[in-house]
C-alpha cells in the first residue's frame, strides 16, 4: 500500500477546498447521509429543472479528506448532466470502488475520468470505502426522494 495512492494531490486539494459547498437556491431534492463509524455527515441539495437536468448540486457536511473530496468531485462531475447520465455516473463510481478497473460512462471526458479515478486508491483501504461512497449513496437517496437518512452501515 502506498499512502500517496490514497492521498493523491487532487484529493487533498478537493478535501481542503471543496467545490459546491453550501446550500443552493431553490433545490428540488435533498437528503442526509451519516456514517456512524466516523461520525461523518453530509447533506445533499439537488436542483433538477423540468427537463430532468441537474441544474445545481451542492452539499454541506464534515468529514475526513476522502469523504470531503469524494463529495466535492461528485458535485463537480454530476452538475450539468441529465438525470439519466447522473445515475449512470453514480453506478459507475460505486462499481469502480467495489471492483472494476475503469470508468465507463461515455459522457465523462478523459480529464473527468482521471479525476474520478483519483478516488480508486481507497480500494486498498477497506475501512475507508464508506468514506468515499457516503455522498454518492446520499445523492441516490435525494434523487429517489427517500425520507430516511442514508446510513453507510445499511447500504451494501
Amino acid at each position: 500500500m502506498d499512502l500517496k495512492q490514497l492521498y493523491q494531490d487532487i484529493i487533498l486539494e478537493h478535501g481542503k477546498s471543496p467545490r459546491n459547498f453550501g446550500k443552493c437556491d431553490k433545490y428540488t431534492h435533498q437528503a442526509k447521509g451519516y456514517n456512524p463509524l466516523c461520525g461523518d455527515k453530509v447533506q445533499i441539495y439537488l436542483k433538477l429543472n423540468n427537463k430532468e437536468k441537474v441544474e445545481d448540486l451542492t452539499f454541506e457536511g464534515s468529514g475526513c479528506a476522502i469523504s470531503m473530496a469524494s463529495t466535492s468531485i461528485m458535485t463537480e462531475l454530476v452538475k450539468g448532466k441529465s438525470l439519466e447520465i447522473a445515475k449512470k455516473i453514480i453506478l459507475d463510481f460505486l462499481n469502480m470502488i467495489k471492483n472494476t478497473k475503469e470508468i465507463k460512462t461515455k459522457e465523462l471526458n478523459d480529464d473527468q475520468k482521471t479525476i474520478i479515478m483519483s478516488l480508486s486508491g481507497v480500494k486498498q483501504y477497506p475501512m475507508r470505502v464508506k468514506c468515499a461512497t457516503l455522498a454518492w449513496h446520499t445523492l441516490t437517496s435525494a434523487i429517489e426522494k427517500n425520507k430516511e437518512e442514508v446510513n453507510t452501515e445499511k447500504v451494501e
Binding site: 451519516y34 463509524l37 477497506p126 475501512m127 475507508r128 446510513n151 452501515e153
Partner: protein, 406 residues
C-alpha cells in the same frame, strides 16, 4: 466417517481421569473442542488480536473481517436468509432472554398466553416466567406422554386467540426427543403465532435449516457445537429484529447519541452491545468447518448407531431403566438404576473415567412430570466410540456391584 480420525482431533480425549482414560459422555452439557478451534483461538490472540468494529487500523480491520466471516458461516450453517439475521450473544440462555424481553416488551399484555412444553430447559422457561411476573402473562405447558413426546393434539388445544408466542425445544436434553418443530411451526403459522425454537441440543446433532423450518427465532449455544465457551447465537427473522426494541444497551449498538435521544445501529449491530467475545466468535468458524468436514449426515449416522448400541446394552443391565422412549431419539440417554441414586451412579462411574451428568439437567418440570427427582444422563458427541459405551456399561454394572444389587 473415520471415528479414530475424528477422535484424534480432540486433545482432551487422550487424558486420564482417576488413572483411567477419559470417557466423555457429557456433551449435552458442553462439548469438547477440536484442535483446530483451539489453534484458532491461540493464533488469533498471538498474531491478530484487536477489538472489532470501531477502530480502523489494520489489526482491527482484519479482526472485523474474521468476525464477520463467522457470521457468514453461521448463516450458511443454518441456512438463514441474511447475515443480518445472525446475532452473537453470550449463550443460548441470553438468546432466549433477548427474545422474551424485547418481544414481551412489545407484544405481551396481561392475560396473554405463552405456550411452552413440559420438555423445556429452565433457559426456555425462566425468561417467559419473568413476563408472567412483570406483565401478568400466562404460561401454558404442552404436555408430554410417557414416551417423552409432546402430545401435538394437546398442544393444538392449548392454542387460543390469546396465545402470543410458542417456544419449544428442538431436541430434549433429557429424553433425547427430537421434537417435530416443523409441524409445530405449521400449526402456529395458521394462527399467525411466532415460534421460538431452542436449538441448543439440535445444533450439534441434527441438520438445521431455518428457512425450511420457517421458525421466527432459533437459539444456539456455541460451546455445545464444539466451539469455545462465551458465545451463543440468536437467529431471528429480519422483520422481528427490525421491529423489536433493542436489548442490552451500550457501545456499538447505537447510531446517534444525544442528551435527549438515541437512535440505534442497523442490524446486526443493534443487538450486539459492548465488546463481543471476539476471539471466541472467530474460533467458532473452525467449529463449523469441523462439522462440515465430517458432514452432518455422517454425524447423524454415527451418533444414531452409537445411541442404538448404547440403548440395547444398557437395557440388558438389570435394574437399569431408560427414561423416555420417543419416536425419534438422538444421543441423549437418561436412565436410573433402581436402588442407586443418580449421584451415586455418577460418582461410581467417574471412578472409571466416565463423565456423565446426574441431577435434573435444568429440567425440573420434566422431572416432576416423570416423578423423578434426578436421573443419570449419558450424552453422545461425534467423538464417542463403541468402546466408550462398553466402558460406560461396565461402570454401570459396577454401580450394581458397589450397591450389592442382585
Amino acid at each position: 466417517m473415520d471415528i479414530n480420525k475424528v477422535k484424534s482431533q480432540f486433545p482432551i480425549l487422550t487424558k486420564k481421569i482417576n488413572g483411567k482414560s477419559l470417557v466423555y459422555l457429557d456433551s449435552s452439557n458442553s462439548a469438547q473442542k477440536p484442535i483446530s478451534v483451539l489453534n484458532s483461538l491461540d493464533s488469533f490472540y498471538k498474531n491478530e488480536f484487536s477489538n472489532i468494529g470501531r477502530s480502523i487500523h489494520s489489526l482491527a480491520v482484519n479482526a472485523t473481517n474474521k468476525f464477520e466471516e463467522t457470521r457468514e458461516s453461521v448463516k450458511k450453517f443454518i441456512n438463514a436468509n441474511s447475515k443480518d439475521e445472525i446475532i452473537f450473544t453470550k449463550n443460548a440462555t441470553e438468546s432466549i432472554n433477548l427474545v422474551a424481553t424485547t418481544f414481551g416488551q412489545q407484544n405481551i399484555k396481561k392475560g396473554d398466553e405463552i405456550l411452552i412444553s413440559e420438555l423445556e430447559h429452565h433457559s426456555n422457561y425462566v425468561p417467559w416466567h419473568y413476563l408472567r411476573e412483570t406483565k401478568g402473562a400466562i404460561i401454558k405447558f404442552a404436555p408430554i406422554n410417557e414416551d417423552g413426546d409432546i402430545i401435538i393434539d394437546e398442544l393444538k388445544k392449548l392454542i387460543t386467540p390469546k396465545t402470543k408466542i410458542i417456544a419449544v425445544t428442538h431436541l430434549s436434553n433429557v429424553t433425547g426427543t427430537i421434537v417435530p418443530v416443523k409441524e409445530i411451526v405449521e400449526i402456529a403459522k395458521k394462527k399467525n403465532i411466532p415460534v421460538l425454537i431452542d436449538g441448543c441440543q439440535s445444533a450439534p446433532h441434527i441438520k438445521i435449516d431455518v428457512k425450511d423450518l420457517d421458525c421466527d427465532f432459533y437459539a444456539i449455544s456455541c460451546h455445545k457445537v464444539y466451539g469455545p465457551t462465551g458465545v451463543g447465537i440468536l437467529y431471528a427473522k429480519k422483520k422481528w429484529l427490525e421491529s423489536l426494541p433493542p436489548y442490552i444497551g451500550g457501545g456499538g449498538m447505537i447510531s446517534e447519541v444525544k442528551k435527549d435521544r438515541i437512535t440505534y445501529a442497523p442490524l446486526p449491530e443493534k443487538y450486539e452491545a459492548g465488546t463481543m467475545p471476539t476471539a471466541e466468535v472467530v474460533a467458532f468458524n473452525e467449529s463449523i468447518k469441523f462439522m462440515n468436514s465430517i458432514g452432518i449426515e455422517n454425524i447423524v449416522k454415527h451418533e444414531q448407531q452409537l445411541t442404538n448400541y448404547a440403548l440395547e446394552k444398557l437395557k440388558k443391565i438389570n435394574s437399569v431403566k431408560i427414561i423416555g422412549n420417543p419416536k425419534n431419539k438422538a444421543g441423549v440417554i437418561s436412565f436410573i438404576i433402581e436402588g442407586v441414586h443418580p449421584h451415586d451412579i455418577s460418582t461410581i462411574v467417574d471412578e472409571e473415567g466416565v463423565a456423565i451428568r446426574a441431577g435434573h439437567h435444568c429440567c425440573q418440570i420434566l422431572h416432576d412430570r416423570l416423578n423423578l427427582s434426578a436421573t443419570a444422563r449419558a450424552s453422545i458427541g461425534v467423538y464417542n466410540t463403541k468402546e466408550d459405551i462398553d466402558i460406560l456399561c461396565k461402570a454401570v454394572e459396577n454401580c450394581r456391584k458397589v450397591f450389592e444389587l442382585k
